[in-house]
Amino acid sequence: MIKLGVPSKGRLMEKTFDWFARRGVTLARSGSDREYAATVSGAEGVSLVLLSAGEIPRELAAGRLHLGVTGTDLVHERLPLWTDVVTPLAEMGFGHADLVLAVPACWIDVDTLDDLDAAAAAFRAEHGHRLRVATKYHRLVRGFLRDAGVADYAIVDSQGATEGTVANLTAEMIADITSTGETLRANHLKILSDGLVLKSQATLWKSRVANLTKNDRAALAALVAQLGLD
């Protein structure tokens, strides 16, 4: 059986179901709404696994899923050397989100990474600790700031309500996913003009490490053809 992992909740699940339905493959939850069981029709030898979008990269990398739908951001953040373990088959055209660096809008002197670096140096001298960046994307943000040569910052973990950390004085700035920037503006934050870390969207990934029997290969090829990805 080919195992296809799909986010188990919300709009990401619905849009994934729609995307497959438009290509003649019907994915559906079976049983009650609370039960994470699911069915596939329109493709032979494929079983559907519903799980958290955040766990899909790990399962693809472990070879327990053959295919999976999740955001580019999560794959890049959770899988170093991701090209070794997964291949993108299709960008699905929804779940668009940018991982951006955002600072308080009242920092009228800071618009670029160059400004940020200078502000961080002065901040550390003034406050005695490094400028704190709240995010859940530790690796991506650290790699981006290292390549940009920004120093004197510290990453603090924030798994939710990240936009509120600045007003709550637990961070000086944030790095988070945004689609319209609305929540950032509402929290008096602005995006650095060269602070785009990653453009993300929902993507169908294929594991490069999952085992395939002869039957699996045929089922995978048929599914890929059915989806118009061959």
Binding site: I108, R139, I155, A167, L169, E172, S193
Partner: protein, 369 residues
């Protein structure tokens, strides 16, 4: 069979570690140990957030963040500052841990055997002592030595005819060559002023319509930076000649005998580097006296700027000539300022040291003979 081979390898590695430690003890090194788990704070303060990409961080609720020892230098320096008296020589051996997220073929746990000297006098002599001691351990192996001197570049930056603020900004990024270059280009007027900055500086009332104040970085700090930007905008760009000299300095890459000639030529105009070049000359004499002729040693002015953030003088590395894919077999250098930064006001203690990778030495020895 695999087990037998493993046992032999382990035995050879242990024997090599013992040989290295013996040599470092004979040179006067007092054997010291260091904990595997180090408080993360000191390392984070020193290296910044980048260290998290290179070292393993763990934590417990009581002690907070701990780091698996990424090298011995920091704990050895801390120990010396707590209880040592100069001059002091230390020898140590044990595993270090480095994340290898970019290259799975590199070990994330490997042994290091090292030797550090804390001495206030005769720096050229102690530089040469450490280099010669490390080189002796690699004698006969197919390795190539590269040397450099971060102190010369630092002297050139300190001597730039510009504002303190610009010099400080450049010094802060000595170990980040790309940002260093970007700053130089901006100070020289070679890159245009970002549009947002030009707009900000053209504004008489920049706070009109500004967003509400949030966060710890207050309005006074923003105003201070705007004032600094205004001052900087009024400064003339770095002179083209000064930049050309800096570029010429960074491009020096030849054997030490030619390199010192080239640096002497440059110091005719780049007066600020003269004392640093004199120190290099004294070091080359000391190395020569120990049998390392300047004509046999490579010098790269840019060496040690990317991987060794705390060295601020002499730097060196030994590379396996037939294995360019390997990390260096041995590295070392002088880190006078580190003791000052870790000592919190205790002042600087001139220090120089080096480490050998005994596992790579064993591998080279097996392949080479």
């Amino acid at each position: 069979m695999a087990d037998a081979g493993q046992t032999t390898d382990d035995a050879r590695l242990r024997a090599r570690v013992a040989t290295l430690m013996g040599a470092f003890r004979d040179a006067g090194g007092v054997e010291v140990s260091a904990p595997v788990l180090l408080p993360a704070e000191a390392l984070l303060d020193l290296y910044g957030e980048d260290i998290r990409g290179r070292a393993y961080v763990t934590s417990d609720a009581l002690r907070g963040e701990q780091m698996l020892r990424p090298d011995f230098t920091v704990p050895v320096v801390q120990r010396h500052m707590a209880e040592g008296a100069e001059p002091a020589r230390y020898a140590y051996a044990g595993p270090v841990f480095r994340k290898q997220e970019q290259d799975p073929s590199r070990a994330n746990e490997y042994p290091q055997v090292g030797y550090e000297v804390f001495a206030r006098s005769a720096p050229a002599e102690t530089d040469a002592e450490v280099f010669a001691l490390i080189a002796a351990q690699l004698d006969g192996l197919p390795v190539r030595a590269v040397t450099g001197d971060i102190g010369i570049l630092m002297a050139a930056v300190r001597g730039l005819e510009t504002t303190d603020r610009r010099r400080t900004a450049l010094m802060r990024h000595i170990w980040r060559p790309r940002r260093f270059r970007a700053l130089l280009d901006r100070f020289a007027g070679r890159t245009p002023v970002p549009a947002s900055r030009a707009r900000l500086l053209a504004e008489d009332h920049p706070w009109t319509g500004a967003a509400p104040q949030i966060g710890l970085r207050g309005r006074a700090e923003v105003e201070a930076r705007i004032a600094a930007l205004r001052e900087d905008a009024a400064e003339p760009p770095l002179a083209a000649e000064a930049l050309a000299l800096l570029d010429a300095l960074l491009a020096v890459r030849e054997t030490c005998d030619f390199a010192i000639e080239r640096l002497r030529d440059l110091s005719v105009d780049l007066v600020s580097i003269r004392p640093a070049v004199d120190r290099l000359a004294a070091r080359l004499d000391a190395l020569d006296a120990r049998g390392f002729a300047p004509g046999s040693l490579e010098f790269e002015a840019n060496y040690g700027r990317t991987s060794m953030e705390y060295y601020d003088g002499f730097v060196f590395g030994f590379y396996a000539t037939r294995r360019p894919d390997w990390p260096p077999v041995a590295t070392g250098g002088r880190y006078d300022a580190l003791t000052e930064r870790l000592g919190q006001g205790a002042g600087a203690i001139p220090a120089v040291g080096g480490v050998v990778r005994p596992d790579l030495v064993v591998a080279l020895d097996g392949a080479g003979t």
